[in-house]
């Protein structure tokens, strides 16, 4: 695909143009000192060196609460509800692009989730090469340092005021050319992008799996009865934070509410999580995962094996969000997988 070189001074014009027909989100520093994708406005300072967006991009494609249908209680007719605002996510790190690709695969296969499909189609993903690495991240060691696809444009900062922009789709290219003709990147610029990637990969070496990530499913198959699950899960608050912040988690509950006339109503879905105590509990109070360790283990199996068995990638892209979000300090795929590796070391 083509790569163009774009200069910082071109950005305000592009952003201005894009925001005419899209909701545009860009990385910025929050009051609390963390970074996140926030609505763009003129003069907003873009945090080019953000290490990780506090909230994962899934909320743009799979909002925390989303109406699925409206219904009429009398006729029992129901209508689908679709909401798919055109939006541009500018500044999505490659591990988050990979997470989006996973959601695409899992939600669009089988019986495609039309609500997701439509939102996804209306969303432009502009990938961005990170300059820094969050202290809890380990994406480089789980095969998530680069995304081969899933973006419309991929931006790499190659100097104080210049970017290479790799085109991932015709839609991306069109958006990029909205403010005049494009300049293809020189070999030197492309080399600059390569070096930028190499630099961040070097920085990402602080944290990593002690083994090849593709061993994880096999490692887990041997670890069902590990004492680790109980040891860590004793501290679990069943708060679901690790699920909800994860860019690849997409479990949901379905609930509904009638309107105040009790005639019509809305059925909606809301983010849920397998770490919550009642996630697998059925009427009559039978719980299919009654113990904290059952739920804790399930999450790691889902991240390290079940998703892999379906799509050949880990369900964890190593963003490190859960590590930070867990107040109990036990949600940490890197640590858990490494410890299981040590535990079973004599078998390798």
């Amino acid at each position: 695909m083509t790569t163009y070189t774009v200069y910082k001074e071109q950005l305000p014009g592009l952003f201005e143009k894009w925001s005419e027909s899209y909701a545009l989100y860009v990385p910025a520093k929050l009051r609390e000192g963390f970074y996140d994708l926030v609505p763009w406005k003129r003069d907003l300072e873009i945090a080019w060196d953000f290490d990780v967006a506090y909230n994962s991009p899934k909320r743009f494609l799979f909002p925390p609460r989303e109406a699925l249908i409206t219904f009429n209680r009398k006729t029992c007719e129901a209508e689908p509800v679709f909401e798919a605002p055109p939006q541009i996510l500018f500044g999505v790190h490659p591990y988050d692009v990979k997470a989006i690709n996973q959601l695409d695969q899992l939600l669009e296969t089988g019986s495609p989730d039309q609500n997701y499909v439509r939102r996804r189609a209306a969303t432009v993903v502009m990938g961005y090469e990170p300059l820094t690495v969050s202290p809890t991240a380990f994406w480089a060691s789980v095969g998530a340092a680069s995304a081969a696809h899933g973006y419309d444009l991929y931006w790499t900062k190659i100097g104080p005021a210049a970017f290479t922009v790799e085109v991932g789709s015709a839609r991306g290219e069109e958006l990029l050319s909205m403010c005049g003709p494009l300049v293809p990147s020189t070999a030197g610029d492309k080399e600059g992008a390569r070096r930028a990637k190499a630099r961040v990969l070097f920085k990402a070496r602080h944290n990593g799996l002690r083994y090849n990530w593709e061993e994880t499913p096999r490692l887990l198959s041997k670890s069902w009865d590990s004492p680790l699950w109980r040891r860590y899960s004793q501290m679990c608050l069943a708060c679901g934070s690790c699920n909800l912040v994860c860019p690849t988690c997409y479990c949901f509950d379905i609930r509904e509410e009638a309107d105040d006339q009790l005639e019509e109503g809305v059925r909606y879905r809301e983010w849920d999580g397998c770490m919550l105590e009642s996630f697998a509990k059925v009427a009559g109070n039978h719980n299919f995962r009654p113990k904290a360790q059952d739920r804790y283990r399930h999450r790691y199996f889902r991240k390290g094996k079940y998703i892999y068995d379906k799509i050949g990638e880990l369900g964890c892209v190593g963003c490190g969000r859960c590590v930070r979000a867990c107040t109990a300090g036990i949600a940490n795929p890197l640590k858990v997988f490494n410890e299981l590796w040590e535990e079973t070391a004599h078998e390798h």
Binding site: I69, E79, S111, Q114, A258, R269, F279, A283
Partner: protein, 277 residues
């Protein structure tokens, strides 16, 4: 109708045509699809029933597939929000349904074979669909044995129907209750105690069983002891379900989704999964 954009979350209306009390807490509901079409389900599949304003819940389809009729049956135990609301319905009322969803019993495999149907408690509800399908094509199958186990006599459901089956001679019926009362004259004991009573030909017998989680472990062990191979055993596993589409994650059994990979599983396919049985 057809102009509506498609979404798998949109139910379609059905109308209640008949309601029959089966026990203190269980009622059979016969619905008619408003679109006039047969439900086109396979034995073992389920539908998600919407009580609008209350919620949605999965129920096994209890009637056999009907090619020419737009009616189908479910039988529901009153236990929570949706099930209680269902019990308040009167004939003529409408509800929404999605489905049929999920896997089914592989009836083609059973052709020419003996079949053992093991129903624990409410397990008879989905098995009834299989049973009556087979009875309709009775000559395609060899011997048919039905085992029914209930906790207490007053919890028995489809009592007359099962008695008629026993009389018909098409099916050998064996029944037991765990805790008898003074009215009960039949077998006493858990359902496994019925197994030795039927002389089974292990090489030629397929087993279809539905019941509470605890029942599976014992009945499967008994069947295996008798020499029935794992791939001749079929079970239906109930889990919490929300979407029915393999998306919401609630029904997971290790990496399987009970709603699309199941509810009916061949025992061979789940033997290795710790969360299955």
């Amino acid at each position: 109708m057809n102009t509506k954009p498609f979404s798998p979350y949109v139910p379609r209306p059905v109308t209640l045509v008949e309601k029959t009390k089966l026990s203190d807490f269980v009622t059979r509901f016969t619905f008619e699809q408003d679109n006039g079409r047969p439900l086109a389900h396979k034995p073992g599949q389920f539908v998600n029933v919407s009580m609008y304003g209350i919620g949605e819940a999965p129920f096994s389809i209890s009637s056999p597939p009907r090619r020419t009729q737009n009616t189908f049956e479910i039988a529901v135990r009153k236990i929570g929000a949706v099930t209680s609301a269902l019990h308040e319905l009167k004939p003529g009322a409408k509800v929404g349904i999605r489905g049929p969803y999920g896997s089914s019993f592989p009836v083609m495999k059973f052709v020419g074979k003996d079949i053992l149907i093991v129903a624990g408690g409410l397990g008879y509800i989905p098995l009834r669909s299989l049973l009556f399908y087979q009875l309709r094509h009775r000559d395609e199958f060899n011997r048919m044995v039905l085992m029914v186990g209930t906790r207490e006599p007053k919890e028995r459901i489809f009592v007359d129907e099962i008695a008629d089956l026993a009389k018909s001679g098409d099916v050998e019926v064996l029944e037991t209750v765990d805790m008898p009362d003074e009215t009960w004259k039949g077998n006493v004991g858990v359902i496994t105690t019925l197994l030795p009573k039927a002389e089974l030909d292990p090489a030629n017998t397929y087993v279809a069983m539905v019941g509470p989680p605890i029942m599976y472990r014992f009945v499967i062990a008994e069947c295996r002891k008798k020499g029935i191979a794992s791939d001749q055993i079929f079970v239906s596993l109930e889990r919490k379900m929300k979407c029915g589409l393999g998306k919401c994650g609630h029904c997971q059994i290790n990496e399987l989704n009970a709603c699309i990979d199941g509810p009916v599983f061949c025992y061979t396919d789940i033997e290795a999964y710790q969360e299955a049985i």
